[in-house]
């Protein structure tokens, strides 16, 4: 028993992590008070940690130090402008909160133009691909040609699925849209598969923590 206490005192964080992990995993059996307790512990810890980081890494170096240590008093205006956000809770002065919100919305809207162009124009440019592909030595690259053909078929059929502006009466368009739908199903299947992989990774991490870091049964 004494050895156990010594172990707990020598690495309390590991024990706390293990107890929290097991407590949260009790949900697998059914909803219960233990799970609820540890869920709230986690939320509280995450929120508390965020506040500490915000004070230490943002408010201190970007507000307190410049204003009170370096005499750059003009940053106070920026801070006060930001504080106007909190007037959202006041019925009488609610309109003041719209000033910083409007400022940020204007910034985001302007940024969206640049972001759209940089993100999607290169996508459109690389969508135009040759079906007849040659290598540097002049020989025909058949596999690249087939790849480009598959790409083109998928691109056109998936886009035809999203023709919602008019009724799809033509058999060609209808079949194309149907094929596009199947192709998208394959993509969704791939996303679902990777989702499972991600979840399994999370479970493995917790199990590894319990058996390696906590119990030290495996290396």
């Amino acid at each position: 028993m004494e050895a156990l206490w010594q172990d707990i005192l020598s690495r309390p964080a590991i024990y706390a992590g293990a107890i929290c992990t097991i407590g949260l995993m009790t949900l697998v059996y059914r909803e219960n008070a233990v799970y609820r307790f540890f869920e709230h512990v986690f939320i509280g810890l995450a929120a508390g940690f965020s506040i500490v980081v915000l004070i230490k890494e943002i408010l201190d170096p970007f507000l307190y130090q410049p204003v009170f240590k370096k005499g750059e008093w003009y940053w106070t205006f920026v801070f006060m402008f930001g504080l106007l956000f909190y007037f959202i809770h006041s019925r009488k002065y609610n309109w003041l909160s719209r000033l910083p919100i409007g400022f940020l919305m204007g910034f985001a809207a302007g940024q969206a133009f640049q972001s759209f162009a940089n993100t999607y124009l290169p996508q459109i440019a690389v969508s135009f691909r040759p079906l007849y592909v040659t290598r540097a030595d002049g020989s025909v690259d058949v596999s690249a040609g087939i790849n480009n053909l598959i790409f083109m078929i998928v691109l056109v059929t998936v886009m035809s699925y999203f023709f919602f502006s008019f009724e799809q009466k033509s058999k060609v368009i209808r079949n194309s849209a149907q094929f596009g739908r199947w192709v998208m199903m394959v993509a969704f299947g791939a996303i679902f598969g990777t989702t499972i992989m991600a979840r399994m990774a999370l479970l493995f991490d917790r199990m590894y923590f319990l058996f390696s870091d906590w119990l030290r049964w495996v290396q």
């Binding site: 995450a46 985001a108 690389v126 992989m197 990774a201 590894y208």
Partner: protein, 284 residues
């Protein structure tokens, strides 16, 4: 498993295999995840082109090059993003590149600092000379717009409040044109912001992305177009990267468990569907 209809008879075998108690499935899952921890299963691993491309991109940076690593993740995705962060930082330090780490997430800032500090000791990386941690930065768009034109002005202090302008690691770094590569390790769609606001500003900039596995498929078009040089996909991608840099980490250890879990899930899907088809066939 597939749902049974209200009129079905629970005693029927084909119905029962469609409605196995979820607690039984959880136990099976735990067994296949835990078993390889005690009996290691080493399956051959083929490196995907996306991982290989990221590795090649880092390899192509000349010694002393400057790389920014953004670790925008938190405890919830530690299983995937932590091995990714470790693999990338290990590769960068092995190659003696200058490294600047920061995060758009409060927890990510702490996690990435812990990992980088540990690896820095291993590779004799001196803080301030070979690497720096810029800490947590909020408001993605503002930081990205700012770092394109003025990196020392954007990151005036490190995570401990020390001025960065005199640090040797920042020598010669003025704007995005002086950066060789940016690697984002994230559990969100932040890669869109990097592509939209930063990547186009320097045609020679290599932008690598390390998402959680669930996000990987949506990023393929951007690798296809060259906007992302390479992708490390979740824990599997991290395991492949560990193999490329010849290091065994958490991801490599986890591959046996993940593979067995996938086999179990596939078996359960097949069993459930057999039950469903058999029930339908008998109903006709």
């Amino acid at each position: 498993m597939a749902m049974t209809s209200p009129t079905s008879q629970p005693s029927d075998f084909w119905h029962r295999i469609q409605a196995i108690d979820r607690r039984v499935l959880y136990v099976l899952l735990l067994v296949v995840i835990i078993l390889p921890l005690f009996v290691p299963i080493r399956l051959p691993m083929v490196t995907m082109p996306s991982t290989q491309k990221l590795y090649q991109a880092i390899e192509s940076i000349p010694e002393g090059g400057f790389v920014i690593v953004s670790a925008t993740w938190s405890g919830g995705t530690r299983a995937e993003n932590m091995p990714q962060t470790e693999a990338i930082l290990r590769h960068l330090m092995k190659r003696r590149l200058r490294v600047a780490v920061f995060s758009f997430d409060q927890q990510g800032s702490q996690f990435s600092y812990n990992i980088a500090s540990r690896l820095a000791k291993e590779y004799n990386y001196e803080y301030g000379k070979d690497w720096v941690h810029w800490g947590f930065r909020p408001i993605v768009g503002v930081v990205m717009k700012s770092l394109v034109r003025d990196i020392p002005g954007t990151f005036t202090t490190d995570r401990d409040g020390k001025p960065t302008k005199d640090m040797e690691v920042m020598k010669g770094i003025r704007d995005i044109k002086d950066v060789d590569a940016i690697v984002e390790i994230a559990a969100s769609g932040i890669y869109m912001d990097w592509i939209g606001l930063v990547v186009g500003a320097n045609p020679n900039l290599k932008f690598g992305f390390c998402p959680t596995a669930v996000m990987a498929p949506e990023t393929y078009p951007y690798m296809d177009s060259g906007q992302i040089v390479g992708i490390m996909e979740g824990m599997r991608g991290a395991a492949e990267y560990e193999q490329l840099i010849r290091a065994t980490g958490l991801a490599t250890k986890g591959m046996g468990s993940i593979s067995l879990a996938h086999v179990l899930i596939m078996l359960l899907i097949i069993i459930g569907n057999i039950g469903y088809i058999a029930t339908r066939a008998r109903g006709r």
